[in-house]
Amino acid sequence: MGAKNRISLGVLVGGLVLLPLFMRNPYYIGVMVFIGLYSLITIGLSLLMGYAGQISLGHAAFFATGAYTSGILTTKAGFAPVPAFFTAILLTACVAFLIGIPTLRLKGHYLAMATLGFGQIVYIILNASVEFTGGPSGFGEIPRIQLGSILIESQISRYCLVWSLVILVLIFSLNLINSRVGRALRSIHGSELAANAMGVNTSKHKIQVFVLSAIYASMAGSLYAHFVTFISPSSFDLKFSILVVTMVVVGGMSSVWGALVGTFLLGLLPELLRNFRDYDILVYGFVLLLIMVFTPEGLIGLIDRLKGAQEKRSLKAQAKLS
């Protein structure tokens, strides 16, 4: 995993444990729960976009598959939330696999278009199959998750559940990146042709990471369904797909940490901007603009740059001393 990643992970876990001690208000914890849900999706997207170099504008569809599978199985088929959670993962993985085979043959704008189209198709299905999905009105009364004797109902219990999952997913993803598969993915990002020539099975790896990111999104979807207990198609539209992609881009695609930074920023920003009332959208847009103009490589790039400058300075200082 690398020493750097271990330190970052340690800092994250420490921060997450300490946070509820200082922020006792359930409202803030609730905001953190949603950031956790988004993080699950953006970590997967970061693997897909940053490492494998493939874009997806249809991840709302996988988020929806998770949420609707969990919701329908628990309300209509009498499933308990936990088995429904895993069934949703299985179903989403199958869908992603089938969608991935033809679409991942495409590149650049064409891939973006194909995934966007897929997202829209799922959105239309959710709206049109009224008997099954409840149509545009959605459906509610989704049961809460029961883990042993603990009912996941309070904000703090949701916080613990979702962030434990995020940490697990993060550890898995960091290990993956530093494995043979991770190196293969990065070679695809660099040059698919060269990777192929070196004997990397590029199409296989691309589909693998696509399915993995879909599974992460499905997990987030299932948890969303059980947390909010009501779902309707409007939560799974194109806007959502764009939001998660924006989080990854703003944070920086060069590492999964960038995805987390972007998710925190864009998850917190709307809440912080509540004081601006009607002007919140303006400020939001302005912040995005500043980030994209001054750190086109994302916020994580800024951190790297600052660190680089500091190292240079210390090197200079050392040189002067000697």
Binding site: N25, G30, V31, F34, G135, F230, S232, S234, E271
Partner: protein, 387 residues
């Protein structure tokens, strides 16, 4: 010595003045905090904006008249953007951070459904401005939830009654694929069977669609005697235009979601003669002077149009009714969430813009089908349908 004394006198005087000042400050009564969440921006802003304007206007009026029993009314307004996740966060904020006594809104059915579990758990009264009947039903699971817009089913019944009175029995329906359109579609199908009306075509359109010709072509090919267009989004104004282009002459009925004069303006000439059920706010000028709602309606219309220089819509009226219900309860029982809830649940004869509300433990909407009038569009204005 005397200099020192004088100094002390000044200090004591200042202290006395200060304590007097603080004591007058503490004497001032604490403000009543009420939350309001509307879709002020985003795809449903045509609902949220008049609602926001309305509640701001009411707060100014109430506080200018000295507040509620001497307490100022403090309204904390949040924007849902019509998005469920944002609404959940906003309601959590209102309850946990601002500690509001009651919440007015949200504007849309979906966002309301998403926050019902939260207010039920936190035991905070919520008066929704959204239409779907599932918001207040089943009522035993909606202990803390009320709504001010009229019932979809009552609108359906009024439309079907009018169709039957004209001797027609076969209708086509075209509905928008939003929560409002979908709920209407279900009610239309349910009551068609009960009232002996045949639905010969059942078409839908998306909220962003710009042309409904294909759906209308299909309807034209049937023997439908009337068309019911059920939607709340601006796209609904395209249906009458397309009908005119196709030379369709069957009468067009719209839902109470047509209750914004902008929609009639968007439909232009093609909108003439559209028949729809709506609250009396839109036809206040043609109401008789002795109608119990006349005074409330006329005042709201005058205040709103003078202040915001735009015509009132029924949506702003829903927020008007919701906030006045809360103020009415605060006046009677003071700052206690449970007492506010109980007071609203037992409120009878509350005259609002949407009708005369008679709440009960079995009915958290409090309106009947008499809250509707059948209106029509004449020279780009809403008027009472004479027959």
């Amino acid at each position: 010595m005397s200099g020192l004394n004088r100094k002390w006198t000044v200090v004591i005087c200042l202290l006395a003045a200060f304590s007097l000042l603080t004591s007058t400050c503490t004497k001032k009564k604490e403000a009543y905090k009420v939350g309001a969440i509307f879709a002020i921006t985003g795809p449903a802003s045509w609902l949220g904006e008049p609602e926001r304007n309305t509640v701001q206007m009411i707060v100014e009026q109430v506080n200018a008249e000295g507040g509620i029993n001497g307490h100022l009314l403090e309204l904390i307004i949040e924007d849902t953007v019509g998005d469920e996740t944002k609404t959940v966060n906003a309601v959590n904020k209102l309850i946990e951070k601002d500690n509001v006594l009651a919440i007015v809104g949200p504007s849309r059915s979906g966002t309301t459904m998403a926050v019902i579990p939260i207010v039920e758990k936190a035991k905070v009264p919520l008066i929704s401005c959204a239409a779907a009947e599932t918001i207040v039903e089943p009522v035993e699971q909606r202990h803390w939830v009320f709504k001010t817009p009229q019932k979809d089913s009552d609108a359906v019944i009024r439309i079907f009654e009018h169709i039957k009175s004209k001797g027609m029995s076969k209708v086509a329906i075209i509905t928008g694929t939003t929560g409002f359109g979908d709920a209407g579609r279900k009610q239309l199908k349910k009551y068609a069977a009960e009232m002996g009306i045949a639905i010969v075509a059942d078409e839908t359109y998306g909220p962003g669609d710009t042309d409904m010709t294909p759906q209308l072509m299909k309807i034209k090919a049937t023997d439908a005697q009337a068309l019911i267009n059920w939607s709340i989004v601006p796209a609904q104004a395209i249906v009458p235009k397309n009908m005119r282009q196709l030379g369709m002459t069957i009468p067009l009925y719209q839902s109470h979601g047509f209750g914004n004069i902008k929609y009639a303006e968007a439909a232009g000439e093609a909108g003439e003669g559209i028949i729809f059920p709506a609250g009396r706010l839109l036809a206040v000028d043609s109401l008789p002077d002795d109608h119990p709602q006349k005074a409330v309606l006329a005042r709201y219309k005058k205040d709103y149009e003078e202040k915001f220089k735009e015509p009132v819509s029924t949506f702003g009226g829903h927020a008007y009714d919701a906030l006045w219900l809360v103020i009415d309860a605060l006046k009677a029982v003071g700052p206690d969430r449970a007492k506010i809830r109980d007071h609203i649940e037992n409120r009878k004869g509350f005259i609002g813009t949407g009708g005369i509300f008679n709440f009960s433990p079995e009915d958290h909407n409090g309106l009947t089908k008499d809250a509707f009038e059948m209106l029509t569009v004449k020279s780009c204005k809403f008027t009472l349908l004479s027959e």
